[in-house]
Symmetry: none
Subunit: 181 residues, 4 copies
DNA sequence: AATGAATGAGTGTTCATTCAT
DNA sequence: AATGAATGAACACTCATTCAT
């Protein structure tokens, strides 16, 4: 519902109707309309982090872990168009909302990425002369923009191909010479 | 006003008061509340494109042109915090708004970037084996995320430094070996 | 409310207050302010037609049926001053409103009257050399004006007397000589 | 303008535009929007009464004078469709407006008609056993309804024919037997 | 005299939220 | 637990009127 019409253009009554319950019932499960959106976002991030932690535990190679993260990011959204729309729009609905709430999730995600970057730098596979913060922002920004491009156009989306393309550029940009050669 | 509270949380009466005019006066200049936001965004992009075209005309070197674009992107927003907030939030307020209106500006910007990338590939300074579309998305996404990071935290922002950091990664990621060596 | 102040000078908030409900409640029962008026008018005509059909079925004499219609017209409005005011004013609020909506009720009423006239002509009690349309308009117009006269002054109103006076003139005007003698 | 859209749906700005002047100019000639309508109505009645007095002075025969009034009523409106619309709608816009303002014109008109009726009764050509008030209302009501019927449908309108038809009924209804024979 | 930009009070309508059932 | 009728605050927008030019 929210993905289709936007949070502000989705009356609680419409959300309730879509869920097949009465308006009042919504308030038995959510304290306010805002909480519906927050819960949806929280849940999505929670699931993402769970899977990310699980899958990243299967290897110690930072490059491999980065590949896992990137693939998971793109696959999760590719598999759920409505979620993707919400993530590319409503999550950024207003400066106050972001500052108070949704930015924290992104910071968590960025921190996770930064840890992997730093590990790669310690492992000698990533250049040590770029800040992990910058790299994480570049990587996240690139992925984010690829998703936006898909969501706001009618293009087909192949998460695997997209992941390769982005990583092709970012890896080359951050890998050490020895590694690259 | 919109930057501070968000478009949906900014009554027309508040916008009018901030502008020092009566509510009705707003409607002498804008057909609807929506048009206020659209006009602001249109104007910002118009100015940006004008300056970009001017400054990019001073050189034929694609790498140099890319540096100009990146610097202009970051400097424009760094110089106007409210504009930056609007660009990182309200421009993405709902899928419908984006699809109907604001995405076109981004597409124009991405196309401008892609042209430069392609020129660089023809000039032999950028790798020919990555698509200009992917590169443009990566670059824009990286910059966009750097701006968001600044806007939604209290960090100081140095557009020059940020530009160098991002370009350091992206350039290395897309330049040809010969060039890099 | 509308009878007292006129439709355009009756804010929905005032109508709601008079009804003892909150403003929003009005919109649970009416789609728009316009619909309040339309529903009131529709309902009044519906009841009138129902009663008219019932009472007219008690006789086959066209003259008697006409007397029934006239009495019902005047008694219905005499019994409900507010309704009478609305019928003499708001029903004619604008050319567009009338053309789109309220005229149809009058046309239905006029058609009912015309049928009775034609029946009387066939029965040989009404002159055949005047058109039923003209007669119906004269009769309705006369009644309408009697009601207006009452509504817009402080005069007392006796529907029975008024009915007799109007019918005295119209009947004499339309009856056949043989009948009249 | 008012005839087309109704008084309440005609902004002063639209009326001014139609008149080819600026909004403010309207207020040099009318104290308020209401006065525009009142002046239009006043003027129309003034002209009507002037012509009625003139033409009625040409004969002493009450029946003839009534014919003159009826013809003038219908011809005046037939000649000016917009005026007719205003007379059949806006003149009755609300009970308060009518009570305060427009009813007086009708009362004047009805009084003029009543005088003629009484004169006809004194002349022995109209029945003395019906009240002049009732007759005047019947006659005016009949004419009024004929005009409404024309204004709110697409029918062609022939004031002469319509006058004959109405008078055929009303005259027969009110004339004395001797006269009728 | 004429203008038309500016005003700001007024109003129809929406919708998040509550609560008696 | 679930309902959905009722609420009333909030808001976008209109427009009669004013007044400096």
């Amino acid at each position: 519902m929210i993905a289709e019409n936007g949070f502000f253009h989705s009356p609680v009554s419409a959300i309730a109707a879509r869920a097949g319950v009465a308006d009042g019932t919504v308030y038995l499960y959510f304290k306010s309309k805002d909480q519906i959106l927050r819960t949806a976002i929280d849940t999505a991030f929670l699931h993402f982090f769970e899977r990310a932690r699980e899958e990243m535990a299967t290897t110690e190679d930072a490059a491999q872990q980065l590949r896992i993260l990137v693939r998971l990011h793109l696959e999760t959204l590719a598999a759920n168009h409505a979620l993707a729309v919400v993530m590319q729009t409503e999550v950024r609905q207003s400066a106050r909302f972001i500052a108070e709430f949704s930015r924290q999730h992104l910071v968590d995600y960025l921190n996770l990425t930064r840890e992997v970057i730093r590990r790669g730098q310690q492992q000698g596979i990533f250049r040590p002369d770029v800040s992990d913060r910058t790299v994480a922002h570049c990587l996240f920004g690139a992925l984010d923009e690829m998703v936006s491009s898909w969501v706001f156009t009618e293009r087909p989306f192949e998460p695997g191909t997209t992941a390769s393309q982005v990583l092709d550029i970012i890896f080359r940009g951050i890998e050490t010479q020895s590694n690259h050669a």
